[in-house]
Subunit: 354 residues, 2 copies
Amino acid sequence: MSSQEPPRRATIADVAREAGVATSTASVVFSGKAKVADATRERVLAAAADLGYAGPDPRAASLRLGRSGIVAVVFEGHLRNAFLDPVTTAMMDGLADGLAELSAGILLMRDEPGEDGPGLASAPVDAYVLIGWSGRTRESVEVVRGRGLPVVVIEGDPGDGTIPRIALDNADASAEVAQHVYDLGHRDVALITLTLGHDRERAPITPERLAAATVGVTVDRLEGMRRVFPDAPAISASGSFIDEGIVIGRMLLADAATRPTAVLAQSDLLAVGVIRAAQELGLRVPEDVSVAGFDGIAIDGLGGQSLTTTVQPAVEKGRAAGEQIARMLGGEAGETQNLTCVFRPGTTTGVPPR
Amino acid sequence: MSSQEPPRRATIADVAREAGVATSTASVVFSGKAKVADATRERVLAAAADLGYAGPDPRAASLRLGRSGIVAVVFEGHLRNAFLDPVTTAMMDGLADGLAELSAGILLMRDEPGEDGPGLASAPVDAYVLIGWSGRTRESVEVVRGRGLPVVVIEGDPGDGTIPRIALDNADASAEVAQHVYDLGHRDVALITLTLGHDRERAPITPERLAAATVGVTVDRLEGMRRVFPDAPAISASGSFIDEGIVIGRMLLADAATRPTAVLAQSDLLAVGVIRAAQELGLRVPEDVSVAGFDGIAIDGLGGQSLTTTVQPAVEKGRAAGEQIARMLGGEAGETQNLTCVFRPGTTTGVPPR
DNA sequence: TTGTAGGCGTTATCAC
DNA sequence: GTGATAACGCCTACAA
């Protein structure tokens, strides 16, 4: 008595037929968008159960409705960063919050320069949040704008001014940290920056490299630092990791003759690495060398010390983006938000050694 | 000369008409699935540019193709956990990896018991990964299975055995840690578990509560611990955080008369919290009290100590799930994977005080 | 290589 | 309260 396995899943039309009602009626039973007689509803539900119908196909619904309930969050490079960098995870946390009222899902996407695959434009999403620390974002912006969907850029360069963005006072905040160190008396300072561009090269920063830099955050923070220390040598890190800070810290601190009295890093992770390197070399912080960071993330492992840094509103950044997306999907215009960092003096900076 | 703003976006049919070709031709130009004369392609592209057509609408394409290129990752409770818990972030990292070959996007979703909103079933996805530490997952499984899409469960109870799952040897690994502590001579041991159920209650574990527990991981790890210490008192944490460990640590260690000689925690974060609490109370670890954890995540801030724990393959868990999804989308059957933890002795456990 | 036609599964509109 | 019908925008046999 066994028949062929049904070749396709039941559709709402099948359910309607089985229940002896119109498809529109069956549809309404599932969407609840109109009143249906109890008896009718029962029959439809029974038919659905019978046929193993699990409710409307979201793909069809999203075509019909023009909405998918999904917001894309676009990272450049590997998605690892989305989960491994504490500033980013905090931001995502805030974004999830800001998006909560939409009960929209968050689609993680990457925008890798090399690949041409399906790409950003092929995802059925209702809006885009571009997380961009690089000029790459500019290009993505064009791709995405063409779709006519809401876009918000977090710390990226949106090209023209028509796209709302969530920005940070990177330059000012960096200058404030630098000024603190200057005021302590330091004049011989080394700077460690985030990556300059997609190459992620660890190398001294030259005017040429700086001119070719594509990561706005890095450039802005460096600009702030150089307001106070115009001639300080700078080196770009290959990424924001403690280990990278250790490597660069060793380079900077190993030779007593060329050792700076203070190191300013563009991230807390790098700063912590430098402190580790100093400890390795038997140097005391801040007696022998002062170290300051940027971000204000919670870092354990400083042995009771607190890092001098500036605290960026990472969670707030995400929440603000989410809120703007929600506004734009509601038909209002999105607004650019300028968020500010708060300087937080710690115990890792002090007067320079005599 | 200004005309009304066009009421709707251009479609591929508009482009085809404008270019003077058939829609199928225009479609092929964008999909690249067939050869098109260069001249024709040019004309189509020009027409598209003219009309501001940014390529096929993914919503329509996914209906037509039956695929959206999206894999849903379902968490129970707040998405915060996806970003703030180190074990989970590592797992997500692995998942992104395992899914990379599909070049599928990852849709973060939550499955909150309370809410009935759009819900899991309303997302246009091709497959589901259920991250479940609770019995809640069981229910989600049913919802999702009805869709007839591939499903993989990570550390959850899949109900019947037909769903591939990624599992850990939680009981055995816990027993191994416990045995290590037993072998050191400890007999007076306190246990700290993860949450027992959705209530997230911090409270002593009674047989009744244990019987009602829904989080399989917690139950399994406790079972392993009790193989070695059948009568050890246990308390459930409200979550896996350092701060929670501190709170519970204070409770357990404050009174010298009732203080255990060792504390076994079901997560490293809880264990670190206990160590902090011990330090606060002026107790030395491991001289006055031994502490062990579970997970093997990298934790700074132990002041040079290394936590005795068991290392779970968090990244591998995610990667395995991604690979199974990829297989299933390829038409093959998914397979359950049993992963194992590796015991890692550290310096936070030692012989009990006399 | 290009054109035609049908349908993917749903929901909104509008009569009844 | 219920039913018929027309899109939503695209892709892909199939025919020319």
